[in-house]
């Protein structure tokens, strides 16, 4: 029932603008048309979607290790100097009593980036093979990745705010560290990866050209 065939836009000679969703009669091929309403180029699929998704994913994977191993901030006080990693910050929250917040930060900073990388790799791989495996679930997975994606920025904001808030000179201060830049870059790279992925590739047409290997 779920995989019953639905008429899609190309069957009816229609196309639609991916920015403003205006529905149009499909223009003849060979020429690059722009949407008459918003001016965005009309295209049946996002260009080089799988390759661009994989490229951003590889960037994210490469930065993932420094983001989690390097310290993201240093606290300085009369008691001494301390470096904190992402995981260290979560443990600190857990042991100082706010376990609910520790769980939220764990989900946003550790679980979500890993989930996004794994999910987008699966989506890109199955799209490239024009797979019809669990299409509805893959569509839901794509929407989940799009929805939760930006929450990983949480720890970047936390450090920036601590740097701004804790300004007591020699008594106490907070400085950002290079790990934070790697962490922010992982978040941006995974967001760009999911923005590059075209969910319409989950539903290949019988005449869908096979995606070139990334």
């Amino acid at each position: 029932m779920l995989n019953a065939s639905y008429p899609d836009a190309a069957d009816l000679g229609l196309t639609h603008c991916e920015v403003c969703t205006l529905v149009l009669q499909a223009p003849p091929g060979g020429v690059k048309w722009r949407c008459p309403r918003c001016g965005h180029p009309l295209q049946a699929r996002k260009p080089h979607s799988v390759q661009r998704t994989l490229a951003w994913l590889m960037t994210a994977v490469a930065l993932y290790l420094p983001a989690n191993v390097l310290p993201v901030m240093t606290t300085e006080s009369v008691l001494g100097r301390d470096s904190h990693t992402i995981v260290g910050g979560i443990i600190e929250l857990w042991t100082t009593g706010s376990r609910e917040l520790a769980i939220i930060v764990f989900i946003a900073s550790i679980a979500v980036p890993l989930l996004k990388i794994a999910a987008l790799a699966l989506l890109a791989f199955t799209a490239q093979r024009r797979s019809r495996w669990r299409q509805r679930e893959r569509a839901a997975l794509y929407r989940l990745v799009e929805t939760v994606g930006h929450w990983s920025m949480l720890d970047v904001f936390v450090v920036v705010l601590l740097v701004g808030m804790v300004q007591f000179g020699v008594l106490a201060s907070v400085e950002p560290e290079p790990g934070l830049m790697a962490f922010g870059a992982v978040v941006v790279a995974t967001m760009l990866a999911s923005a590059s992925f075209d969910p319409r590739l989950i539903w290949p047409r019988p005449d869908e050209p096979r995606v070139a290997h990334g």
Partner: protein
């Protein structure tokens, strides 16, 4: 569902009211009038096709003006004041990003300035740019570029994540200092609620109103 055969001509706008094409899987549906609180979902992939808004356009404009007011309060007034041994330290969002920049973390400073300040401001300003003329039933200058920018900037605006970041930063610094909440944090809470109510409308309604009113 059957549709009349369509001639393959240069892009001709098929009236919006005839068809809806699913953005995520290209399935085609006949459009039908949408109740103000209804959500249409794609039967094939589950994506949201269209969504009504509980408020008419002038109500949405009021929400957006409210959002602009709390945004200005939130970003210009201190979010929290910390106290340590008689010393006070106040933090605003702009001050926090400036201090992060001065600590050498330029990329992180720019990233948080854009996602927590510039992009949310653009979301509000671009919406006002489009909505004010529409409510006055005047043509919207630069409608297409404004709407395309709005579409892009929505993805990168992260007010709700920043809001949660404030809470976590407060908890993490509460161990060493005494924390007093400033006007900024309450303004940001109100902004998070208002922006969620405004986002719920999507952009499709603005395109429809623009086509109808001018």
């Amino acid at each position: 569902m059957s549709a009349p055969p369509l001639a393959r001509r240069a892009p001709v706008v098929v009236p919006d009211s005839d068809y809806i094409v699913c953005e995520e899987c290209d399935a085609v549906y006949r459009a039908r009038p949408l109740a103000s609180d209804a959500v249409l979902r794609c039967r094939r992939c589950g994506a949201t096709l269209a969504r009504g808004h509980a408020l008419p356009l002038d109500g949405q404009l009021a929400l957006t003006l409210g959002a602009l007011a709390v945004f200005l309060i939130g970003s210009l007034s201190p979010i929290v004041t910390l106290e340590l041994k008689g010393n006070h330290s106040q933090a605003t969002l702009l001050e926090a990003t400036r201090l992060t920049w001065e600590s050498g973390a330029h990329v992180v400073a720019v990233l948080s300035l854009l996602t927590a300040f510039v992009f949310p401001l653009l979301v509000i300003v671009l919406r006002l740019w489009v909505m004010v003329p529409l409510v006055l039933r005047r043509p919207v200058p630069l409608l297409a570029p404004a709407m395309r920018s709005l579409n892009w900037v929505l993805r990168w605006s992260m007010v709700e994540v920043f809001m949660l970041g404030v809470l976590i930063a407060v908890v993490r610094s509460a161990g060493v200092t005494h924390v007093v909440f400033g006007a900024g944090i309450f303004a940001y809470m109100a902004l998070t609620v208002l922006l969620t109510a405004i986002y719920a409308a999507g952009l499709q309604g603005l395109w429809t109103e623009a086509a109808r009113r001018c």
